[in-house]
């Protein structure tokens, strides 16, 4: 560990290593204010707006999870709708046994996390596009399997029980809060995960997998963790979906179009950043609301936009913002400041965009040497 020691001495002498330029507390306060404001929405706006926002919460949760998979762990999954559907069906199963769907939500999410373990064992044998298709086959298999149970509604699905006696207004508000809670939890998990040691490994995989492996990063373990977390997140989103729709339906809950939505929100917003999925979801929802009367055109345009962004603006919309202003709403990297460079992000800039030492070899010692809050 002499490298670490060296980095420490150097850091102490000539460099200052911080998580971000601004005080993180202010970002935290701002984020808290936004969450509080959002939590007050059911009192402020019409229920049409809140149910639209629940849709947005579902997409944002899914997008953050897909970003964690594809943007950091290098796992392009086309089968996350499998966890979405599984989450919805877990809620149904618990509700059929008399549990309130809102209580069933966290249980369903945990159930999806448990289910992710054997599924990871199956799909982790394949890489790249073959991994993508294997996840898809898994999702299709899960759907066909669930359709066999007539007690769960077979191929047509069932209405979700457990809402009797709730006033419609309270139900809408509760659904909204559930969606908000799931989204905040998802973003917080992603943020904490990426600031941890595992996050360092994930950032290293994102930047250069071979280099990460050769520096001794436990790539397989980090991937397993991400797959399970993404399973939990997508399952929770599926549970929110079931509650907001008041029913489960296999073909709708296991639809491949969910994966298209989450992928495109991430790609348009910016792959491999926490901020990207948020911007991408906003853009996605705006596009969806403006173009929804044009049927298939909306998906054609979405597909074209994704191709153009993937080819010409690889870091997405957030990348465009970031490259000009160099800001982080969620600082997960490190800033290395010295007398002569002023300050440059280390291991935090997406897709090799950092001018100084973006490689995992550099950020490793720096990261393990200093552990700010």
């Amino acid at each position: 560990m002499s490298v670490v020691a060296q980095a420490d001495t150097v850091a102490a002498d000539a460099f200052q290593v911080t998580r971000s330029r601004q005080n993180v507390i202010w970002t935290g306060v701002a984020a808290l204010a936004v969450v509080v404001l959002l939590a007050l929405f059911p009192y402020l706006v019409y229920s049409g707006t809140t149910s639209l926002m629940v849709q947005g919460f579902i997409v944002l949760t899914l997008a953050s999870m897909w970003n964690l998979l594809a943007g950091y762990a290098g796992l392009v999954s086309v089968g996350q709708q499998g966890f979405l559907g599984l989450g919805a069906y877990f809620v149904l199963i618990f509700a059929l046994h008399g549990l309130s769907p809102f209580v069933a939500l966290p249980l369903a999410a945990i159930g999806c996390g448990v289910a992710a373990l054997p599924l990871w064992w199956l799909v982790s044998r394949l890489r790249s596009g073959y991994f993508a298709i294997a996840t898809w086959v898994l999702a299709a298999t899960l759907m066909l399997f669930i359709e066999r149970f007539n007690s769960l509604g077979g191929g047509t699905g069932l209405p979700l029980p457990g809402f009797t006696g709730m006033s419609p207004r309270l139900l809408t508000a509760d659904t909204y809060w559930a969606g908000l809670a799931v989204t905040v939890a998802a973003l917080l998990t992603v943020y904490v995960l990426l600031r941890s040691r595992v996050g360092l490994v994930l950032t290293a995989i994102r930047d250069d997998e071979v280099a990460a492996r050769s520096s001794g990063a436990r790539v397989g373990l980090a991937r397993l963790l991400v797959f399970v977390v993404a399973g939990i997140g997508c399952g929770a989103a599926g549970a929110v979906l079931a509650i907001s729709q008041l029913q489960v339906q296999p073909s709708a809950d296991f639809s491949i179009s969910w994966t298209a939505e989450m992928a495109f929100a991430v790609i348009i917003g910016g792959l491999g950043t926490i901020e990207g999925p948020i911007i991408g979801t906003v853009v996605y929802m705006v596009l969806q609301q403006t173009l929804q009367n044009f049927n298939a055109w909306y998906l054609i345009i979405l597909g074209l936009v994704a191709i153009v962004v993937a080819l010409f603006a690889r870091r997405g919309l957030w990348g465009l913002v970031d490259s000009r202003l160099n800001i982080r709403l969620f600082p997960v990297g490190y800033w290395l400041r010295s007398a002569w460079t002023g300050g440059a992000p280390v291991g935090g800039a997406p897709l090799g965009g950092a001018p100084v030492g973006a490689g995992p070899v550099d950020s490793g010692p720096v990261g393990s040497g200093t552990n700010p809050v």
Partner: protein
Amino acid sequence: MAWVNAIIQGVLTGGLYALFACGLSLMFGVMKVVNLAHGDLAVVAGYVGVFIITVTHIPVLWSFLIVVPVMAVVGYALQRTLIQSALNRSVLTTLIVTLGLSMVIENGLLQFFTANSRGIGAGLTLVTGSFSLGSQVELPYLLLLIFAVAVAVLLGMQWFLSRSSYGRLVRAVADDQEAAQLSGADYRHVFGIAAAIALGTVALGGLAFGMYSTLDPTAGTDTILLFAFVAVVIGGLGSLWGTLLGGIVLGVAQQIGAQINISDELLAGYLIFLVVLVLRPQGLVSRRART
């Protein structure tokens, strides 16, 4: 005898799946591209076929002579433009770009040609006819033809890659792009040729599927792409004859599943895929594990 019939049908449909899969296998083998728009391009080929037949009234099989070269040209153009520029960036970009392309094609077909399903050559003896072996076993002419075509295509690809001088070039580029480039081979052109061949075969697959079943905008991803991938993974990545074997295994599993319970056809196919994934992740034929 019903079981024997199911197995024979399964083997024959395996030929169709191999036809879907061999282009995918070739593109992955040569340029490491996993083309997620593969199935949609097959559906496009089928729609072009339907269009040509309704406009010109030429015999069904003659239309193949137009559609296959047209799709080959499309493949070359697609590789030289979209896929190559995605390849220059990263593997992830090729996945995203082909996923986007798949979405554009699928919804484009939906927008311009509605969700109605279309068949090719309905009512022809070739499509509906069959001859019987004994009382239970039926051999449809169409499936026999498709199987024969699949074997012929695979033999042709095998011969092209291992014997012809251009095939040697393709293998050289697949092995080491830069070394081949230094020796004077333009790897982009070679990639284009490989994509042209891949799309030629997938055009055959799309047309065959249109005759065997019906085409609709979602068939490309729901059926063709998924079955093609399953066949490739079962058979073993990058092995042409493994692809045929994978297709046959998938076809037989589906037919046996359907024999048990008509709604279990798809489930049986996916389960055999998962079993292969557990027991032999490198596929039945390939010796190299993982890529």
